[in-house]
Subunit: 224 residues, 2 copies
Amino acid sequence: MKDKTPAKNSYLTIQTLQRMPYYLQYLKKAKAEGRTDVSASAIAAELQLNDVLVRKDIAAVSSTGGRPKAGFNVCTLIRDIEQYMGYHTTKETVLVGAGSLGKALLRNREFDMYGLKIVAAFDVRRSLIHKKINGVEVYSLAKLKNFCLRQNIQIGIITVPAEAAQDVANRLVDGGIQAIWNFAFVKLQVPEHVLVQNEDLASSLAMLSQHLRLANEMGESWIE
Amino acid sequence: MKDKTPAKNSYLTIQTLQRMPYYLQYLKKAKAEGRTDVSASAIAAELQLNDVLVRKDIAAVSSTGGRPKAGFNVCTLIRDIEQYMGYHTTKETVLVGAGSLGKALLRNREFDMYGLKIVAAFDVRRSLIHKKINGVEVYSLAKLKNFCLRQNIQIGIITVPAEAAQDVANRLVDGGIQAIWNFAFVKLQVPEHVLVQNEDLASSLAMLSQHLRLANEMGESWIE
DNA sequence: TAGATTGTTAATCGATTAACAATC
DNA sequence: TAGATTGTTAATCGATTAACAATC
């Protein structure tokens, strides 16, 4: 019997990775309903995905194989996914830009669930400095780099206006950060080893717009 | 000479669509710098994309072909993209959930640029009702459906907690909405004609986590 | 047993990239 | 002209799906 534990330094495609939180959500619902096993087919049906796809995704992170006829053990699978996703390891992060979006993120309680902990906020506005938002203190932007270095912070969240984002990114990079979660709409220039995850409202809006346009055109006429 | 105007009811793949805002951003920068023409190759280089890809994307929305040696006229291309993306047509929307994330979105000035206008907010909390946030009045959730029907609203933004999201979605659908921008982390069940665009913080976080895990493992050892 | 389910291998599909002729 | 650039057609690549044997 082969060891089924997935290689520690294997990696998932971004598509697979992005489906994981949805699997997790479904599994937790199943657990809450008292089910002990779920089949890949059931997950696929609920999330409107192909069942082979779901099986492959699960195979990539699961410590055990599924049992024919029964499926996968809910608790084990939840643990395996959370483990793989790193939800059990606390990731200390800093947030830069304590404006309304920054505040909203600071107040978001869901991040706990994912192991994300915002340990400090930074801003240029004097009026905000040394204020606390949801227990997190706001510091001067000037202190950002050294704070990151000293505390060995690996993730930075950028919620400043677009114009200021590149400067903040530079400071984070100088502070030794590995990954940036960027809510400003600019393409940031960073060294290769740093990941920039753009939270892309403009792209989302583009999807909405196109849908409306097509919906409205279809409503009007079908003339080619 | 063929008519180069793209078919009105053509549609772009989501990949192409999501690159458009980045093209636009680059073009606007180029315009601000006083350039009159840009080449697809230049755009590709800046955004780290393949140049053929950029050409194909542009061809799908441009009213004119590019000129060999010169490239595309900046102003025309900006107009064409904005036109295609519907940035020139105002899209009236409602926002449900005037919590901190909702407030952050209500205060976001960038939406103007995309033709998105939030005309009303809704919440269940008594204390918020009839308050104004950035000039937008908050109404009782009970009024949501009729408001949408009366004003012929087509887009709804959901910024309520996950547990409440499906109920809100149902009300929006009953109100005749065509598209939902969902910031709650739940898979919403809606009729086929309604688009749900999930703003997926959990998936983004998954990307960050995986990057850190791989970066750290690589730092530790290279043993296979 | 029959049937639900897993998991593998091969086929399909669609997006990206490469090659190249056409144009200014 | 030579060279930069466009835009098309064909090749590649990778993700998804189909087919099917294995298992409980």
